[in-house]
């Protein structure tokens, strides 16, 4: 973009889609007005001839009509217009118009009227020449030194120069070596013609030479057989340009600046009359036209140069003097003098924009000018911004879309299990082996504290327990409204369940402001069914297969007092023994030692003892908390009855293998069946019936086989279900025993439970064995691993092979045994890897049986301390507070037990510590070197662990969040030990329970 612009003084758009080119513009006092002022003559390829006398003042008022002096539609296209003295015996200027096949010379006369629009102009044809050859361009001048009038020379498209002296044709000459016509100019100083030939050289032909050269009537003749009458035509001189020329101009302003100017496609050449070069200017643009217009300084030539970048450049020889931007690409440019303006630049575009302009002298910088009065109203914009931000904030606020907090529940669910069994049993199986199957009624109270929509309540009990109705659809509830539903629970199978607890799930949606449809929410609650539902009192059995002994630190209690509902039938009056007979037939006897503080549970099957042991432990806790004994402790001295446990594992596994086999067989038979069917079908389709060849018998047999197999598989499935329940029972028992044995905390027990009971149901695709094995081996590799190195590598190997039914249970058994072994050696169950790095070193020193918390905590690191607890929270599906509350209120004794237990442990732990230290010292001295080595390795490990920590930080984000919350609650007291934090938590629970 240029800095200066051409200021339009007068402009016009000519014609309707007409086309113009180089020769179409000329200026001159064509009407011989005598004022010396120029008129603009424009001819178009469409044959329109126009003459203008620009008048700037008029135009500013809007009218440009009278600037047009003449407009005539001629028959043929106008190639070139020139103004000169073309008529003999006349000094007046005439207009020569070159058409492709005609040259016409007109006179333009004006007759003045009273007003401007009264002036009339007339175009009168003086003479015309019809051309034999198609014209390309023309030039005029005083050829041969003639004075007073101008002759014309026309170059034809095929290279003939035709000379006309006024109304007579002089002669014609072919240019030698002609291919395409180039620009043509006449140099009056040397009386020669200049053109640029297809050889890309400037050629000068003297008029004299042309005149005496061979008469060229036909082109071929001139080249091949020169006639004797004339000379062969040769140029006076040539100059190699090396490019095609757009135009040639021979200005004659003064003698000192006589030169020939040639505009090439890329260069501007200036030569002397003898063909010597004066200068050459390399152009940095594509020129479109040029015009030498004056010699302002003596010896130099000023010229105008238009280019395809819409620029009009003013050069003084090779120096750029000025530049102005035009609104179009000029194809022709002239300088004209008008009455009001001297030295106006007239330019013409190819589409007919005629512009008479002058050079602008105000530089224009292309910056958007400031709009002062239109300042933005900042207050208004600010207000709008705030409004929008508020909207965004509201839309993204999670509190509204998601539940705000669990501080205020929308709903409370309370389950009441009736203390006595139903008078008339609701059970589907009325009696088992002669024993009546009882049922118990459970009542669920749902109380809404806000508006609820589409609430659904579902009951879930462990198989083979069943309920009379497990789905309830509740009506939409208002604030404070209460709903009650009740159902009966009973045993619906010939084996005891693994758990007597049942779940209540309420799903509902609570509408919010932004979400009128309601946010779906779920609330869980839990209830415990009585043991009496699955067993009846019986007489104690003396000799049994399995025995479990539980130690306590309190004098024995009267079992009949503990189990009042079962004591009725017992024959033992001193309450030393109690027997339970499950409806399924198994009998479990509980014996209390008279001398020691031990209790023995014995039964014929390992898994059936679980419910009784669990009940016993629960009732012990309740009993002693009722008595106000805080330091009640129960323990299991071991060994862990793994062999017994493995029996149920093997049983379950065998059934799974069977199921797999049945499946395979069934599919095999089915394939066979279909193959027979296909054969039979082809037989039947056949037009010529063939004997069936006992295929029908085979089909029948296969069918029977399939049915039998399916039945067997179905039976196996039922057995598998039962076996799984039994397996779960025994696993529960194992977990309980392990926790009693090692005095595991609640959280550790939870981890253990999650590890050993990963599934609530097992499927052919994913069964208990493989998932349990994966979980156990993970524990063995991570927190229970012997060396921190293993731990590190195990964490790296996350994501092993696909879990599938193992070949046998040896591996699993080995792992479980190893787990028990490691636990027995003091392994601490935790999911926080960094906390355990230190363990292996300490295990050896501090491992002490008896369930004493063996590890001295690094008190400086609160996060570490709290981690295990938080982890278990995370692992275990955290029941909502309501549920917990309810549970707490139900098991009030259980709750109050926990702090007492904890405090007991703590009290026990403190005095023990010095002893431990001593022990430690002793052991350390024995393996001092080893220890130091380990320490160093441990230290080396620590940075790594830090990195690990970071790596696993993403997975721990949630944890940490919780911890932060916790930290907030504990007002930044980071030095709280795990024990005290447990305490704090329990106290909190207590207060909550009290509130509830």
């Amino acid at each position: 973009m240029s800095l200066f612009k051409a200021r339009d003084w007068w402009s016009g758009a000519l014609g309707e889609g007409e086309e113009f080119d180089q020769g179409c513009l000329c200026v001159g006092d064509v009407d011989n007005s005598g004022t010396g002022h120029d008129k603009i003559v424009v001819g178009s390829y469409m044959g329109m001839l126009r003459i203008f006398c620009p008048n700037a003042n008029k135009q500013s008022e809007g009218g440009s009509a009278d600037a047009q002096l003449l407009e005539v539609q001629l028959q043929n296209a106008i190639i070139q217009v020139e103004v000169g003295k073309f008529v003999s015996c006349s000094e007046l200027l005439h207009l020569a118009v070159l058409h492709p096949r005609k040259l016409s010379v007109y006179s333009v006369t004006g007759t003045a009227g009273n007003v401007e629009h009264g002036d009339q102009y007339q175009l009168k044809l003086i003479y015309e020449h019809n051309l034999q050859r198609t014209a390309c361009n023309m030039t005029y001048g005083t050829f041969g030194g003639a004075t007073g009038h101008h002759s014309l020379c026309i170059q034809s498209m095929d290279g003939m120069l035709m000379f006309f002296e006024q109304d007579s044709y002089s002669f014609g000459r072919f240019l030698p070596g002609f291919l395409l016509p180039g620009p043509l100019a006449y140099n009056s100083r040397t009386d020669s013609f200049l053109t640029v030939s297809s050889a890309r050289q400037l050629e000068s032909y003297k008029y004299e030479t042309l005149a005496v050269a061979t008469e060229a009537e036909t082109r071929q003749d001139s080249d091949l057989t020169p006639k004797t009458g004339g000379k062969r035509l040769t140029p006076d001189w040539t100059f190699v340009l090396g490019e095609q020329a757009l135009d040639i101009s021979v200005p004659s302003f003064s003698h000192s600046s006589s030169s020939i100017l040639v505009l090439g496609e890329r260069n501007l050449f200036c030569l002397r009359d003898n063909g010597q070069i004066r200068f050459m200017k390399k152009l940095e643009f594509n020129p479109s036209c040029f015009l030498p217009y004056a010699s302002v300084k003596d010896g130099t030539t000023n010229l105008l140069l238009g280019n395809h970048n819409n620029m009009l450049l003013v050069y003084q020889d090779v120096t750029l003097q000025w530049a102005a931007q035009l609104p179009f690409v000029p194809v022709a440019v002239r300088v004209a003098n008008f009455p009001e303006l001297k030295g106006a630049v007239v330019s013409l575009s190819s589409d007919g924009h005629l512009l008479s302009s002058y050079m602008g002298t105000d530089p224009s910088f292309f910056s958007t000018p400031k709009v002062d009065a239109r300042e933005a109203d900042y207050e208004q914009v600010d207000a709008e911004m705030k409004k929008l931000q508020k909207l965004i904030r509201e839309a993204t606020r999670t509190q509204d879309i998601l539940p705000k907090s669990d501080a205020l529940e929308d709903l409370s669910v309370k389950a009441i299990v009736f203390p006595s069994l139903d008078a008339s049993s609701q059970a589907l199986i009325q009696d088992m082996d002669g024993l009546p199957v009882p049922s118990v009624t459970v009542q669920v109270k749902v109380k809404a504290s806000s508006v609820l929509q589409s609430a659904k309540l579902s009951i879930c009990v462990q198989p083979p327990l069943a309920v009379t109705q497990d789905q309830f659809v509740l009506e939409p509830m208002g604030v404070g409204s209460t709903k009650e539903v009740s159902f009966s629970a009973f045993l619906n199978g010939h084996y005891p369940p693994a758990d007597l607890t049942g779940d209540i799930v309420v799903s509902y949606s609570s509408p919010t402001e932004l979400n009128p449809k309601g946010v779906p929410r779920v609330l869980q609650s839990r209830f415990n069914l009585p043991l009496a539902l699955v067993c009846v009192p019986s007489s104690p059995a003396k000799s049994t297969k399995f025995k479990i002994t539980v130690d306590t630190n309190q004098p024995p209690v009267d079992l009949s007092a503990l189990f009042r509902e079962f004591s009725a039938k017992t024959e033992d009056k001193d309450g030393n023994s109690l027997a339970f007979q499950f409806l399924s037939g198994a009998k479990v006897t509980v014996l209390a030692s008279k001398t020691s503080q031990r209790y023995r549970i014995q039964g014929d099957s390992f898994e059936d003892m679980w419910l009784v042991v669990k009940e016993l432990v629960q009732r012990f806790d309740q009993h002693f908390s009722k008595l106000g004994i805080k330091d009640f402790k129960k323990s299991f001295s071991g060994p862990i009855p793994l062999q017994e446990y493995f029996l149920s594992v093997d049983n379950h596994f065998q059934l799974r293998v069977n199921a797999q086999q049945y499946q395979d067989l069934l599919s095999e038979r089915a394939v066979q069946f279909r193959a027979i069917q296909r054969r039979l079908l082809t037989r039947f389709k056949d037009k010529t019936p063939a004997p069936l060849q006992s295929l029908d018998t085979l089909l029948d047999a296969t069918y029977n086989q399939v049915i039998t197999l399916a039945e067997a598989a179905e039976e196996n499935r039922a057995l598998l279900e039962q076996a799984f329940v039994r397996l779960r029972s025994s696993t529960h028992l194992l977990v309980l025993l392990l926790s009693l044995w090692q005095g595991l905390t609640h959280d550790q027990t939870a981890i253990l439970e999650a590890t050993l009971l990963p599934l609530l149901q097992d499927t052919p695709q994913l069964g208990w064995e493989e998932s349990c094995d994966a979980a156990v081996s993970h524990l063995l590799r991570s927190c229970l691993s012997r060396s921190p190195k293993d731990q590190a590598t195990s964490l790296a190997q996350i994501g092993g092979s696909v879990l599938s039914l193992p070949q046998d249970t040896t591996r699993l058994k080995k792992h479980i045994a190893l787990l028990c072994d490691r636990l027995g050696k003091g392994g601490r169950l935790t999911l926080a890897s960094e906390a355990n790095v230190q363990i292996p070193a300490q295990i050896q020193n501090l491992a002490a049986p008896g369930g004493v918390e063996p590890i001295a905590e690094d008190l400086g690191d609160g996060e570490e301390v709290e981690n295990p607890q938080e982890m278990t929270k995370f692992i275990k599906k955290k029941p909502s507070r309501k549920v917990k509350k309810e549970k707490d209120s139900k098991e009030k004794k259980d709750v109050s037990r926990e702090p007492s237990e904890a405090s007991v442990k703590e009290e026990a732990g403190v005095p023990e510590e010095p002893i431990k230290e001593v022990k430690k010292e002793k052991k350390e001295s024995s393996k001092d070197k080893k220890e130091s080595k380990k320490d160093s390795s441990k230290e080396a490990k620590e940075p790594k662990d830090e990195a690990k920590k970071k790596e696993s930080s993403s997975s721990k984000e949630k944890k940490e969040k919780k911890e932060k919350e916790k930290e907030g609650k504990e007002s930044g007291d980071r030095k709280v030990s795990r024990k005290s934090s447990v305490k704090v938590k329990d106290k909190k629970k207590e207060t909550e329970a009290a509130e509830g």
């Binding site: 539609q73 629009h117 009264g118």
Partner: protein, 319 residues
């Protein structure tokens, strides 16, 4: 008759026009409605372009530069010696509609000026017959009409059509005048030194010519006046501007897009001159060019230099 004289739509560049002014005038047709056109130069959403529609070409026909630069449409206009430059960008990338529509309509406009501009000495007559424009019909041809623009007068012929009145000299076909009804300010019969004459005054924007014609006898003169007057009225009610443009692909019928706007009865006159147009000045903060003078230094006409400036100095600063 004043109704026609207020025709500004094709002659002027106006900013912050009212909704009433935005409406198309009779004979003006909404050709295309382009949405999402960004006015690159002005920022504050002016009325003239804020509606993001191009209702008609408001470029001064005297000087308009239409040039597509990548996706932008530059319209350089000149109105009352002030140049405005508009840069419109079509926000729909790759849509050539802005260019095709505007440029084509502009071209149609440019090539149909005969309908709207008073023409003198134009190539109107061929073989004694008027060269008719599309949709133009000759209603009457009156011989023996004297043009009173010169002392002796010129005998010629009247052509009265549905668009204009054309007179030409019988002796010189190039001496003629074409007066579209659009540019007629008044027609009346007035006494002159040649006796009663039909006087047509052209509008100011066309140059404010006063053209006198004498038709003998007077009855014929009266008839001619009556005819011209009635045709003028018809034209005023339903003008033909000559811009016929057919969309090659019409997005939607016009009726569906047209929203009837209740006309504002009250027009609030702005207290002060708004500044919206300043953003559109083609040359920075300059409203008018200075007058042209001849520079001896260049040998050409230049814009008069400001005091204390020399051409050389100005050029050297730039160079």
């Amino acid at each position: 008759m004043a109704a026609l004289d207020t025709l500004w739509e094709d002659r002027d560049v106006r900013f912050d026009i009212t909704a009433q002014q935005m409406k198309t005038r009779p004979g003006e047709v909404l050709i295309d409605c382009l949405d999402s056109i960004e006015d690159t130069k002005g920022n504050n959403g002016d009325r003239a372009v804020g509606y993001s529609t191009i209702i008609n070409i408001t470029t001064r026909t005297a000087h308009s530069k239409l040039r597509g630069h990548t996706e932008a449409l530059y319209i350089l206009t000149k109105s009352n010696n002030t140049r405005f430059e508009f840069i419109f960008t079509n926000l729909v990338i790759g849509s050539p509609r802005l260019f095709t529509s505007v440029i084509a309509v502009h071209r149609a406009y440019e090539t149909s000026k005969m309908y709207r501009d008073l023409k003198l000495r134009a190539a109107l007559i061929q073989n004694k017959q008027l060269r008719l424009l599309p949709r133009e019909q000759v209603y009457d041809k009156i011989n023996g009409v004297w043009n009173l623009s010169s002392d002796q007068g010129n005998l010629g012929t009247f052509f009265i059509t549905n668009v204009r009145i054309v007179w030409h000299a019988n002796m010189n076909e190039s001496f003629n005048v074409s007066i579209p009804y659009l540019q007629i300010w008044s027609i009346r019969i007035r006494d002159s030194k040649f006796g009663l004459a039909l006087v047509i005054e052209s509008s100011r924007q066309s140059g404010g010519y006063v053209l006198g014609f004498k038709i003998d006898p007077v009855e014929k003169l009266q008839d001619a006046l009556k005819e011209i007057n009635s045709l003028h009225k018809v034209y005023s009610a339903n003008p033909i501007f000559g811009v016929d443009y057919e969309m090659e692909e019409k997005p939607q019928p016009l009726e569906e897009l047209t929203v009837e706007q209740p006309p504002d009865d009250v027009e609030i006159e702005p207290d002060e001159q708004t500044d919206a147009f300043t953003a559109y000045f083609a040359d920075g903060n300059k409203q008018q060019d200075r007058e042209a003078v001849f520079s001896d230094e260049l040998g050409l006409a230049i814009e008069r230099l400001k005091d204390g400036f020399t051409l050389q100095g100005l050029w050297e600063v730039v160079g």
